[in-house]
Structure formats: C-alpha cells, structure tokens
Symmetry: C2
C-alpha cells in the first residue's frame, strides 16, 4: 500500500513499476472514467504501457456474477494470460468485482487498486476480500485475494460528493475509536476543513488522517487476514446493527450513515454498561454530528437490534463478540449475547433518541436532519 501524490503525473512511475510491462486492463465506472480513468489511461499509454479500459456500469445493487463475467470475457478477448494485470479504479464495488475476476482468471493474475473514494482509500481497498451478490443473496460468492499494490492518492478525492466524504469519515471514526486516540483528536479538530477541502487542507493533516486510518486497518487485518483466526475483530465496530439498518431502510441510508448510527448506539451501550465514560461517549457523539452524520433513524427499533445481534452472533462463530469502546482509541469485547441485557439496549436506544432529537434541533447540519426525517 502506497500513499502517493498525483498518480497521473509525478507518481505515475510507481504505477508503471507495479505493472512491470504486463498487459493491463483498467476496470472502472462511467463517472470515475470521466474524472480519473481516462486521464490515467492516457498517461500510461504515453509511457508505452499496453493498457485497455473497460467501463462497467456497476453499483452495489448489480454487483453480480454477470459483472465478473463481463470483466473475464474482456480479459479473454484481450488475451490476458497468467502474466497480466487487472487494475481497479473506483470505489468498493469495482474493487470487489476486479478482485474476484483477478483471482479467477488463470487461477490468479496480478491486481492493482487505485481507490478513488474516501471509503475505498481507508477501508475497502485495504482488505483482501472480494464478494458479489448471487441470486439476490448479498455477498454469497467471493474470494480472499491480495492485491499486488494499492495506490492511495488523496488528490483523487477533490471531486468527491460530500455524501461520500461523510461515509468515509464514518469508517475513519470507527478505526480511530477502537485503535488510535491521536487519529480521533485529528478528526475532532479538523473534520470541518478536511471535509470542506476534500482532505487537501489544512496542509498535511488530510493525508495524515487517511494514512493513519490505512495503517490501523492494515494492522487489524494482518493477523486475521482470512478471518479464520478469531471472531474478536475490532474492525467490526459499527458493523453490528448497520447491515440490518441499511436493509430495513431499503438502502436509502448510506453505508457510512448506518455505520455512524451503529457507532453512536454502541457508545451509548458502552456508557450504560460503564465500559466507557459519559464524557468519552459524548466526544464520539459530537464528532459524528460535526461530520454531518446521523445518530439515529426511525428504523432502529429494539426488534431490529435484536435481529441484528442474532445475525452478528451467527457470523462470529456463535458468540456476539461486539467491540465495546473502553475509551477513545481503546476497545474490548462483549463476548456473549447474554452480556447485553434487554434493559441496557432499550435504555441506550432511548438515550440515543433523546440526544438525536436535541442534536437535530440544536445544531444539525442539513445532512443530519434529512437523514432523521427520512426515517421519521
């Protein structure tokens, strides 16, 4: 994983080194092709690289086998063999499709990632998992397959819509909360200008926030890369209630918004159980609000939470393993479902409800209030 300056110009050599003269197929989406893909494609062509470009109209909803087969068919048409590169340029959906395609073609060809969304840079592009939906079941088919190189170029974020910036900040708050109090301080202090400037200002703080997030994610994933070593994963923070919440809202709530709400609820639970101080909880709540992310949603009912906890338990080897903040930058685990009494959950939900209403009345950004109203 490299933190780069502009990869279409001064750091282009890093990309050509990674390609190593192999035939390369760049896979991207229409928007990213327009903003970045064609520029980087042309720059590589001018360097004499044997590159082609495939623009896939892929979204979270049509992240299916058909898209993977389209990439494989194009690779076959271009004669890509064992020594060849698939380069993913875009967000998590393109990364997923390319990771799977690269792992399947000739039992595995080289793959390179250039994430162009914030969530892609700090989260999705760092792991080795790829998955697609199959016959309506989310992420039923997939693989573990490591990219050869990941280039993180924060200058690519300059054109990112605010919604995407907020989504990425939710993942940054997640990893800061469980692993890195200094990163949390940076987000707390600078999220305003960083969000406004798309991580270009102030100075190197934007780059430092991204890079620390990446390093902490890598450290967390490293020892459990195939997810077969432990079900106690700090990176599951914010990902216990959020899948059910996203689904319940028919995905009108973005992933980052759902993660933020999940983090807020988990902090409320942690404070209620005495694992975290009310002061630290309030710092997290304030940071989420400052970023323009919601704290609550009408679909977040006790019923939905119970179902989500059951689902998480199934996915985590039969135990709850809920990451529970102990302080800013530190977390433990709530191991068993029985460790979370129904009274604690309902009290936490009520507290969140009250705080969220107070927040939206007092200081909400438009984004917060619209998310709350959407579910009201």
């Amino acid at each position: 994983v490299y933190l780069t300056a502009d990869i279409a110009s001064e750091d282009l050599a890093l990309v050509t080194d990674a390609i190593g003269g192999m035939r390369t197929l760049i896979v991207t989406t229409p928007t990213v092709a327009h903003l970045h893909g064609k520029q980087i494609f042309s720059a590589l062509r001018q360097q004499g690289e044997d590159v082609s470009l495939l623009v896939l109209n892929c979204t979270e909803r049509n992240k299916t086998m058909e898209q993977v087969e389209r990439v494989c068919a194009e690779a076959l048409r271009l004669g890509l063999d064992r020594r060849a590169v698939l380069l993913a340029m875009g967000g998590g959906v393109v990364t997923d499709i390319v990771t799977i395609s690269a792992s399947w073609i000739r039992r595995g060809i080289t793959t390179i990632r250039i994430p162009t969304t914030l969530i892609g840079q700090v989260d999705a592009a760092v792991g080795i998992k790829g998955a697609v939906n199959f016959q309506g079941r989310k992420s039923y088919l997939g693989c573990f397959y490591a990219p050869a190189s990941v280039f993180i170029d924060p200058s690519r974020l300059s054109t990112l819509p605010d919604q995407h910036v907020r989504d990425g900040l939710a993942e940054i708050i997640k990893i800061a909360l469980v692993r890195d109090s200094h990163l949390f301080d940076l987000v707390e202090r600078y999220s305003g200008p960083v969000r406004e400037s798309r991580f270009a200002q102030p100075d190197d703080v934007g780059r430092e926030i991204i890079w620390r997030s990446v390093l902490r994610m890598l450290e967390e994933l490293e020892s459990n890369i195939f997810e077969d070593q432990t079900y106690m994963r700090l990176v599951d923070m914010g990902h216990t209630f959020s899948p059910a919440l996203e689904a319940a809202t028919g995905f009108t709530l973005s992933h980052g918004e759902a993660v933020a709400i999940d983090i807020a609820l988990t902090c409320a639970v942690a404070a209620c159980l005495g694992s975290m101080t009310a002061h630290d909880r309030d710092r997290v709540i304030a940071a989420i609000q400052e970023v323009g992310l919601p704290l609550n949603h009408a679909a977040l009912t006790p019923d939905l939470c119970r179902r989500a906890l059951g689902e998480a338990t199934r996915h985590r080897g039969g135990a709850l393993n809920l990451p529970l903040p102990a302080a800013i930058g530190e977390a433990t685990f709530l191991r068993k479902l029985a460790d979370l009494p129904a009274s604690v959950l309902s009290e936490s939900l009520q507290w969140l409800q009250a705080r969220s209403v107070a927040g939206s009345a007092g200081r909400a950004t438009p984004a917060v209030s619209s998310a709350v109203h959407a579910g009201a």
Copy 2:
C-alpha cells in the same frame, strides 16, 4: 488424504468425522450417483447427517461456469453458509467444479473429495487446483483451493471401465518413472492382474500401487503448491506433447492415451540424447504396451511437437523445462528449447513410429491397435 476401505460401510465414520455435523451437499454425475453416490448418500443419511445430493450432467466439454453456478444455486437454495460442506464424488470434472464452487461460496466453505476413478484417485484429487472452461477457452477460470479431506477408496474402482483403468495407469507410470523405481517394478510385474481385478488382486499390491502414486504426487506438489516456486516440475512428465495431441484428435484420444504417447516419445528423446539407457527406455515402452496403452498416433507430427514445445515454454516461465528420464525412477530437466535439436526430435519420432508398428503387429491388445488405427 486417507487410504480407506469401503467408505460406504466400515470406513463411513471417517467421512462423518470430516463432515463434522455440517450441512452437506454431495455433487456427482448420473453414472457415479447410480454406482456409488446414492449408496453413500443413504449411508450418511442413516447416520443422521444433513446431506443432499445434486446430480450434474457434466463432462470435460461442458465443464463451464454454468455448472459452477448450478452448484452455487443449489447450495444457496439449501441455505449452505460458511460452516457447510461440498462433497465431490466422481472423476476430475466433478472435482474441478466442486473445488471452484466451494472456494467461491461465502469466500470458501469446506470441501471433501471422494474420487471414484483411478485417475481421480492417483492424480486429480490430490492437487488443489480447480478450473473450468470459459467462452471456449480451456481452463481460463479457476482457483487454488485445498480440500479438507480426500478419501481414496480403491473398492470404488470395481465398476470402472477398462479405458479408465488404462488412463489411470498412464498417470501411475508417469509418477513412477520420475520418482519411484519400486512403484515402476510393481506396475511392470502386476499391471495385468491389477488391471483385470480393478486393483483388488493380487492382495494388497493394488492398494500399494495407488497409495505410492498418491504419496509421490503429494511430495511433488507440496513444495510448489501454488505453482509459483519453480517451473521445473517432474509431474509435467507426459504433459508436454499430450495437450496438443488430445486437441488435434478432437479428444478421440483419451487423456491417458495421450499421456502414454507423450511418455513414450520423451523416453525416445532421452535415449537419443543419452540421458537414459536404451534398456530403461525399452522397459518403459514395454510397460506402456503391457497396460494396453498406445505408443504413437498419426497426429503426432514434427509440426505438432514443435507447437507443443512452444506452448509448454510459454506455460513454464519462458523455458522448456522438459522432464527428461535419467533412469527408471529418476529424471532431470531439459531446460531450454535449444537443448532439443530438431534432428533429435525427428529421429525419436521415427524410432517411435517403427516401434509402435512392430508392437502393434506383434503383441498388441485390441486397445492398442484401435488407438493406432483411429489415427491412421
């Protein structure tokens, strides 16, 4: 990898241990379902296992993504999740399709293999590769994915057609020639009764031949399991000219027959170059004939050989790396294409042609002469 007695009865417990109470889908072909699948399915059911059976009409020619998707769809329909088993029962085609499906479902579920062909038991079931054809290109998509257990039950071979027995013996001769002179002695001495009795007679010789072949294969694959360590692979013996030969005959020549011809030609080359004595070469030739395998085919022209050598060089990292017998049970490598002069190749082809005609006139089994005539 386990060498078992009858897994439908006395060694059934080994299979239930491997399943470990997980929901299991057995994938097999119509013929194997009839001969073995239903019997083992019923035996597992009686033990209270949660098993289902999927009968796929799959052959080498329709070993495609569609078959993999059928397995994945059935797995989804049955609710197979991370803790679940796909059990392949049959030959190499079923093993390939199941290996890939298991690696894709939920990024990898448990897979167990019960090979029911000789080639499956001594060769295909031992590796970790799976591949399917894609849009007409052989083995374009695939994976490396290790089975949790492989059960080798020689009693399953009792119903095997003679053609399949001969095909398997070609792979056994291959591994014996490059790695195990004692195994070669056993084949030389007992191939008649072993072939006749489907490895049941004499006594334990049949089982010993299978098990030594498996062990030698495992040893060879172990250090290069992802094929990224070296292109000098002894198991490539018999697999240099045979792919082109199979294709040139429109697959009327079986894989084993093509491998036998490839081995015969390679021994002729080795003797011509002085790597192997004429005596050892003649032992190999005699063993191939004794098994009822052909030595030659009209499609084996100098032109086809040159194309095959070029193709092998492309697949072996740009160097020929042809396994070359040095004695029975020992081999070296012909590293570069230039080490094999055209004159040596044409002389070897002529020698093989003469020997094959002499053989088929003097002592051919019907199988040998039909294979020679098919191409004549």
